[in-house]
């Protein structure tokens, strides 16, 4: 049981580290850390579909964008709305949109599924671009972050970036925990069985269609929360929040981090954003390096960065330490 105790200890350290992070980092780096947290949730929601049910949603940025737009529209048109209610509405809208898209897509095979989700994204992108009276197209909309009202415990100002970081940390942690627990439910297990072989799963009595639809909608909820958090954090939204690159970033983060492990996308998001920040200061052509890392990982079936931390390797390391 030493091992599990060590793991608890490690998780505790990571939690403590994340809590203390804003105390030591500069303003710019707090920004970066917040971004990592948000994209960690986004990539994780992507991987619920990709890694666990074996479908590749190329248009996941659509759900991120829906969240971003819904949140900003609420801030803009209903300024009095409590922040937590906004989060819930954002989550719900993402789930509903995903359920609607899923209705058409989840029956389809891999390549079709990837294409049709992409098509739906282009559709939503076109709406965001063309419905200028609502979305202001490419120019986008600016907002100021409303305060967090704790119902009787006073207000927390969201003017400071530190507080935004903590709010993001709380929401993202809850989101990741819910996703983790979801996979432990019977429904979550059936998702994995569907990935293994959906014909077999259907003979075993699972409803493959509903299972896939459920996991896609569930994933939509968290992609949308991530989007809402991002536009809240940036105090801005425009069509870049719902375009192709947004979908692509989820694919890149997840594959680079490792789709075979629950925390892989989180690691991938951290790598992606730090790497992008670091390398874009040196060259403007950072996509090519990221693309190379990506292609090499897929090509050699490397399983992503998370494999550097896999259990056997850590166990080996620990046993060597004990000697």
């Amino acid at each position: 049981m030493i091992r599990s105790r060590i793991y608890y200890f490690l998780w505790g350290m990571i939690g403590l580290f994340l809590l203390l992070l804003p105390k030591v980092l500069s303003m710019i780096h707090i920004h970066l850390a917040t971004e990592i947290l948000i994209f960690a949730l986004f990539a994780l929601s992507f991987n619920l579909v990709f890694g666990y049910s074996g479908l590749l949603p190329f248009g996941h940025g659509a759900l991120f964008g829906v969240g971003a737009y819904v949140a900003v529209l609420i801030f803009k048109h209903f300024p009095g709305m409590p922040l937590l209610l906004t989060v819930l509405i954002t989550a719900l809208s993402g789930g509903l949109v995903a359920a609607f898209i899923g209705l058409f897509c989840v029956r389809l095979k891999a390549a079709y599924f990837a294409l049709i989700t992409l098509a739906f994204q282009m559709f939503l992108f076109a709406i965001a671009l063309k419905w200028r009276s609502l979305t202001y197209g490419e120019d986008g909309m600016s907002i100021t972050r409303p305060d967090l009202n704790l119902f009787g415990f006073g207000n927390i100002s969201m003017h400071s970036v530190q507080n935004v970081y903590y709010l993001t940390l709380v929401i993202v942690t809850i989101g990741i925990l819910i996703c983790y627990l979801f996979l432990k439910t019977p429904l979550g297990n059936s998702v994995i069985s569907v990935k293994e072989k959906d014909i077999r799963a259907s003979f075993l009595g699972y409803n493959v269609f509903l299972t896939k639809l459920a996991v896609y909608s569930f994933s939509g909820i968290f992609a949308s929360v991530a989007g809402g958090l991002y536009s809240f954090f940036q105090e801005f939204v425009n069509t870049a929040y719902i375009d192709l690159n947004m979908s692509m970033s989820a694919v890149f983060m997840t594959v680079i981090g490792g789709s075979g492990h629950f925390m892989g996308p989180v690691l991938g998001a951290a790598f992606y954003i730090i790497f992008q920040d670091w390398i874009s200061s040196m060259t403007q052509h950072w996509w090519i390096w990221l693309g190379l890392v990506f292609v090499l990982i897929v090509y050699f079936e490397g399983g992503g960065l998370i494999n550097l931390f896999n259990r056997e390797r850590i166990d080996r390391f620990l046993s060597r330490l004990r000697k």
């Binding site: 891999a110 390549a111 992409l118 098509a119 282009m122 693309g291």
Partner: protein
């Protein structure tokens, strides 16, 4: 809205021209998809490379026709190399890794193009021979667009003839329906795959070259065409050349008339059509049920 009939005619021609361009790109994509069961996302990069090569060759040699001759060959070679180096290994690895790897390659090519040619859109002037317009139904129509139309129709007829009557065409069609069986009959399927892949890349390169004089190329050219191609192969049915042909024309016409009638929604029409087809006929218009 009452517009003179000539405008409809011209708009229809625009639609047909664009549709044929899309068809040139989509034909290779759909054949590869039907045969190898690979959705080759890098295909869009072949189109873009064709356009850029044509630009450089025309600039260096001052002759567009040489570009039309040489650029697609280069693109075909690149296609063959990619099949050999990257895809050969993933045939057994399943769809997801193929989708991911071709997708990553598309981004690498996009960035390479940005490094080599920069981000400014580039133009090539229409070759001397095809400059100007001819009278057409009471209005004038640019000769170059008519050239694209005729050229693409010739290529379509050529591919159809090769596929229907030549020995290699019969092998390819057989491989589309059951590659394993054809392999068992003693035909070198990997080589046929390679040929079709290179041929598809070549066709995409041709489309890229002939599109340069009337669409200026930039580093996102590939992505734009990619989406239309996807729509076309989904509507036409995976692996169906005739389906791709008809769907391309539908998309071309839909876009040009969409711009005429409801300009705001023109870009969503193709997707709506695709969703409609998927609901009514999930395998596409000419796709085969499994």
């Amino acid at each position: 809205m009452h517009l003179p009939i000539e405008i409809y005619l011209v708009q229809m021609m625009h639609g047909l021209v664009y549709g044929m361009l899309i068809f040139l790109v989509a034909s290779g994509l759909t054949l590869v998809l039907g045969m190898l069961d690979i959705l080759n996302i890098t295909h869009a990069a072949f189109y873009m490379l064709g356009a850029y090569f044509a630009y450089s060759i025309t600039l260096q040699l001052g002759n567009f026709w040489l570009g039309l001759l040489i650029a697609p060959i280069f693109v075909g070679i690149i296609g063959v190399l990619i099949e050999r180096i990257f895809l050969r290994k993933t045939y057994k690895g399943g769809h997801l890794s193929q989708l991911l790897i071709t997708f990553g390659l598309l981004f690498i090519f996009g960035e390479l193009v940005r490094i080599i040619w920069g981000t400014v859109p580039l133009d090539v002037s229409v070759p001397k021979l095809l400059e100007g317009s001819i009278p057409f139904g009471g209005m004038t129509y640019p000769i170059y667009r008519l050239f694209i139309l005729c050229f693409s129709v010739l290529i379509f007829i050529g591919i159809t003839l090769v596929l229907s009557f030549s020995r290699i065409g019969i092998i390819i069609r057989a491989a589309v329906s059951d590659a394993e069986m054809v392999n068992a009959l003693g035909i070198n399927i990997p080589l046929v795959f390679l040929g079709v892949f290179g041929g598809g890349a070549f066709l995409a390169g041709v489309a890229g070259v002939i599109s340069v004089p009337f669409i200026s190329v930039h580093s996102n050219t590939g992505l734009e065409v990619l989406l239309d191609c996807f729509v076309v192969i989904v509507i036409g049915g995976f692996g169906s050349l005739l389906g791709a042909f008809i769907a391309s024309l539908m998309i071309g016409l839909l876009q040009s008339f969409g711009i005429l009638w409801i300009p705001k929604l023109a870009i969503v029409f193709p997707f709506l059509l695709m969703v409609l087809v998927l609901i009514l006929r999930p395998t596409g218009l000419f796709g085969v049920k499994e």
